[in-house]
Symmetry: C2
Subunit: 135 residues, 2 copies
DNA sequence: TTCATTGCAAAAGTTTTGCACGTGC
DNA sequence: GCACGTGCAAAACTTTTGCAATGAA
């Protein structure tokens, strides 16, 4: 997606379109590998050397709150981000750390009467095909 | 569960039964609130002031690897631990941070041919009843 | 103009590491 | 006895915070 279209999309949803936010979103859209803040920062820094790490965190937080991105907390330490906001599952390889998308029906839990459910996530973990065959 | 029974359980599964590991597991079994490493450390320290934080991390890692505990990474930063290893969902309140268990059928994803699935997790987030009614 | 966002440095918080010592089996 | 676990301090990392300066609308 070109930056002008991202800017238009942001304005349409009353989301302040700063070049930094556009760059962060552009990167996550273009790299469907579920990058974390460090990877995003490293990349956007190349086109704008004055880009701050704080700004990456600010942008990611705002983008998630406004529904442009989804935080993926499958990995215990860092948070990964996904531009595909349609419901789907995430698989993480415990060997190489790679995260894969997969199709899964939305799960329906019971015993949550009175709770307001805002998000549902399905996380699998194990070995990806290449790591599985490595040993 | 008394400590002697935990020790017996560990030995049964060829899991070295040090008093520290027993204490950590005992705490997580007794407190079904999905504690994190800091909470566990704080508690076990009371009965043994020489208990090290490193040991808590070591014990938790080993206990997870041996299937005694489940790591809950629903929260982006710290890892929580659950002694209930039977399949169930976890709900986290984005307001108070409390984690609740709920029943949910095991999800069956598609498109993972060639992957070795070791674990499945279903995480919900939103507002718990009391936080929902707070505003 | 105005107020949200940015950028910097410093802090906070969790988890890991290296290594000597201690201990379960 | 020996391999494995423990404990300590320091390091590594991710993320947050405070605040002055900047810029989008």
């Amino acid at each position: 997606m070109q930056k002008e279209r991202i800017t238009a999309l942001f304005k349409e949803k009353n989301f302040r379109a700063t070049p930094q936010r556009v760059a962060v979103y552009d990167y996550v859209c273009a790299h469907r590998t579920h990058p974390d803040a460090a990877q995003i920062y490293e990349s956007v820094l190349k086109s704008d050397p004055s880009f701050s790490k704080t700004t990456v965190y600010n942008a990611l937080k705002s983008l998630c709150e406004s529904g442009f991105l989804i935080p993926v907390t499958i990995d215990g330490d860092k948070v990964h981000y996904d531009a595909n906001v349609d419901f789907h599952g995430h698989f993480i390889c415990t060997c190489c750390g790679e995260i894969y998308d997969f199709d899964v029906p939305e799960p329906h839990g019971s015993g949550l009467g009175g709770f307001k459910i805002a998000r549902k996530d399905v996380y699998y973990s194990g070995l990806c095909p290449s790591c599985k065959n490595k040993n």
